[in-house]
Amino acid sequence: MAEHSYTSRRELDQYYFHPLVTVLVPLALIVLQAILPRLFPRVAIFDLPLIAVIFFSVARRSPIAGALTGMGIGLFQDGLTNHPFGVFGIAKSIVGYLAASIGFAIDMDNLMNRAALTFVASLLQSVMQLLIERLMLGDKSWRVLPLQGWPLHELLRAAVSVAVAIPLFLLLDRFKQRD
C-alpha cells in the first residue's frame, strides 16, 4: 500500500518535456548568458544555466536525470570559459542531483520552495566552484577572498538568481507535459 502511494506521488509530480524543449531551452539560456553581459556587464552575476538545471531536475523527479542534465549543461558552459572542462560540470551535476532529490520531498510548485531551493543551489554551486578551483586546480588567485567580500558577493548572487528564477520558472512551466 505504501509502495503504491509512493509511486502515485511520484507519478503525480513527474513531468516530461518534448526533446526539442530539452535541448533548446538550456541552449537558449546558455546563449543568453553569453550575450547579456556584453550589453549589461553586471548581468554576469546570475547564472541562467543553473536555473535550467534546477527546473529540469525538479520537474523530472529523477536524481540520475538531474545529475546528467547538470553535467551536460555544466560542461557546455565550461567550453565558453578558460577553465578546464569539469569545473561547472561537477558543480552542476551535484546541484542537479540534489534538486531532483529534494523535489521528491517537498512541493516544488510552491513559489517559496522554489525560491529557497534556487538560493541554496546557487550558494552550493559557488562553494563547489571555490573548492574545485582552489583545492583541485590550485588557483591561488582566491587567496584574498575574505577581504574582497566573497561570501557577501555570493549571497547577492544567490538573491539575484532567485529574483530571475521565479518568473523564469513560471514561463518554463508552460513546457511541462504529463505522460
Binding site: R38, H83, P84, Y97, V144
Partner: protein, 426 residues
C-alpha cells in the same frame, strides 16, 4: 526492476554441469553454492538501493579524472592559458554552437544603434560640431607643443640607440560575446585566423591595453582580458622605471604583486607595457596605480592595484596588434617629418615676429644686468652683458663718475658737481 545491475545470476539446473553439485570444486561453483546466491541478491539490492548515489559518484569521478588529465601540465601552464589538442577541439565545438547566435545578436544591436545614430541622435549635431571645432583648435595648439617634445625625445632615443617597437598593423574586431561567467573574463571577437589573427597577439583600445588573444578559430577568437586570473603582462612604471608583472585577480581587479615595498612607488603613477613578455609592444599605456598595500599572504611583496585606462567591462570594439616593427612605420614617419617641419616653421615665424616688434627684451635685459655689473660680478660672461648707453649730461650719479670704493678715504669731501661736470665735458 533491477535492469542491468545484477552481478551474479542463478543458473538453471541443466547448466550446472555433468556432475551436478558433486565432485571437486563443486562448492566454488556459483550455481551450487547457496552463499553465492545470497550475495547476488545482496549486491542486487545494494545497487538498486544506491543506484542514484552511485551514478552521481560515477559522474563526478569521470569529471574529476577529466580535470586531472587537463591540468597535468607544468604549473605555469596549469593556469589554463593553453589547452590540450582535444580540449581545444571541444571548445571549438561549443563555440561553433554559440557563435552564430552571438553574431546575430551583435548584428541586430549594431543595426539598431546605427539607425539611432543616423536619424534620431542628430538633433544636437550642430552644437556638438561647434564644440568639436573648438576642441580641434585647442588640440592644434597642444600638437605644436608636443611636436617639439617628440622631436627632442626622438633625438635622445637616437643618441641612446634605443630600439622602440612600434605598432605597424592592427585589425579592428568587434566583441560579440562573453564567457557568461564573472569568474572567466573572456570575450569572443568576430575576427579569427582568416583575418590574420594568431594566439598571443596583443589587443588594445585607443585608451590602453586590454588583453591578448587566447584561442583563435577560423572566424572568431577569444580575448583573455587583463583582469582574468590567468592573465599576465610585463609592465614598467613610467616615472620610477621599475618593472613588474601585471596579473588579474579572482575579483576582476588588476594587480602587480611581485614587487617589494618601495617608497618611490606612489598612487597615480602611470603604468606602461615593458615589452619584456614578447606579447605587448613596449610603451603602450595600461593604467595608473590606484592603491598600494602589503600583500597579506606573500610578504614582503606588495599588492599594487592598477586602474586600467580601458574600461574592461564595456568593450565593444578592439584593435588586435597584428604586427610591430623597429622604428616608425612609413605613415607615422611622414607625420613626424611633417611635425618637425611645422615646428621649424613656427620657430622661424616666432623669430620674425620678435625682430619686428620693439626691442622690449633688450631694455629688460639691460635693466636686469645693470645691478650685476654694479656689483662687479666677474663670473658673468662678458658677451652676455649689455652695454650701457652713453649719458648726455653726466652728474655724480652717472656710471663711472665715482672713484672705486677702495680709493675712498673715510671723512674725505665728496667730489664737487662742477668738477664732475668738467670731467664729463672732457
Amino acid at each position: 526492476m533491477h535492469n542491468g545491475l545484477r552481478v551474479f545470476m542463478p543458473l538453471p539446473a541443466n547448466a550446472r554441469g555433468p556432475l551436478g553439485c558433486f565432485g571437486e570444486g563443486a562448492f566454488f561453483r556459483r550455481s551450487c553454492n547457496p552463499y553465492f546466491t545470497v550475495a547476488s541478491f545482496t549486491l542486487d539490492s545494494f545497487f538498486s538501493r544506491f543506484r542514484n548515489s552511485l551514478t552521481l559518484i560515477a559522474i563526478v569521478l569521470v569529471q574529476v579524472l577529466a580535470l586531472a588529465v587537463q591540468v597535468q601540465r607544468p604549473a605555469e601552464d596549469a593556469a589554463g592559458v593553453e589547452d590540450g589538442r582535444k580540449v581545444t577541439l571541444l571548445r571549438r565545438w561549443v563555440l561553433a554552437v554559440v557563435t552564430p547566435f552571438e553574431r546575430v545578436s551583435h548584428g541586430t544591436g549594431t543595426g539598431v544603434r546605427s539607425a539611432w545614430s543616423s536619424y534620431i541622435a542628430l538633433r544636437h549635431t550642430h552644437e556638438e560640431n561647434k564644440a568639436l571645432e573648438q576642441e580641434i583648435a585647442r588640440l592644434r595648439t597642444e600638437e605644436a607643443e608636443f611636436a617639439e617634445d617628440a622631436r627632442e625625445g626622438r633625438r635622445l632615443a637616437a643618441l641612446l640607440q634605443f630600439k622602440q617597437h612600434y605598432i605597424s598593423s592592427t585589425v579592428v574586431a568587434a566583441v560579440i560575446g562573453t564567457s557568461g561567467s564573472d569568474r572567466a573574463r573572456i570575450l569572443t571577437l568576430d575576427k579569427g585566423a582568416a583575418d590574420g589573427l594568431k594566439p598571443d597577439m596583443a589587443v588594445m583600445t585607443p585608451d590602453g591595453v586590454v588583453g591578448k588573444l587566447r584561442d583563435v578559430q577560423s572566424h572568431t577568437s577569444e580575448l583573455l582580458l587583463l583582469n582574468d586570473p590567468t592573465s599576465g603582462a610585463g609592465v614598467i612604471l613610467a616615472a620610477t622605471r621599475i618593472r613588474g608583472i601585471l596579473r588579474g585577480t579572482a575579483a576582476g581587479q588588476v594587480e602587480i604583486n611581485n614587487l617589494t615595498a618601495d617608497s618611490r612607488i606612489k598612487p597615480g603613477e602611470q603604468v606602461l607595457t615593458s615589452g619584456g613578455d614578447g606579447v605587448f609592444p613596449r610603451g603602450l599605456p595600461v593604467g595608473v596605480i590606484e592603491s598600494i598595500a602589503p600583500d597579506p599572504v606573500h610578504q614582503p611583496f606588495t599588492a599594487i592595484r592598477i586602474k586600467p585606462y580601458a574600461n574592461l567591462s564595456r568593450l565593444e570594439e578592439v584593435l588586435v596588434v597584428t604586427g610591430s616593427q623597429e622604428g616608425l612605420p612609413p605613415a607615422a614617419a611622414a607625420d613626424a617629418t611633417l611635425a618637425d617641419a611645422m615646428a621649424e616653421a613656427n620657430k622661424r615665424a616666432a623669430d620674425m615676429v620678435a625682430e619686428r616688434l620693439p626691442s622690449l627684451h633688450e631694455d629688460k635685459d639691460a635693466t636686469v644686468a645693470q645691478p650685476a655689473q654694479d656689483q662687479g660680478n666677474a663670473a658673468a660672461p662678458p658677451a652676455a652683458l649689455p652695454r650701457p648707453r652713453p649719458v648726455l649730461h653726466p652728474d655724480r650719479y652717472s656710471p663711472d663718475s665715482s672713484p672705486p670704493a677702495g680709493e675712498m678715504q673715510p671723512g674725505a669731501p665728496a667730489p664737487s658737481q662742477d668738477s664732475d661736470s668738467k670731467a664729463g665735458d672732457h
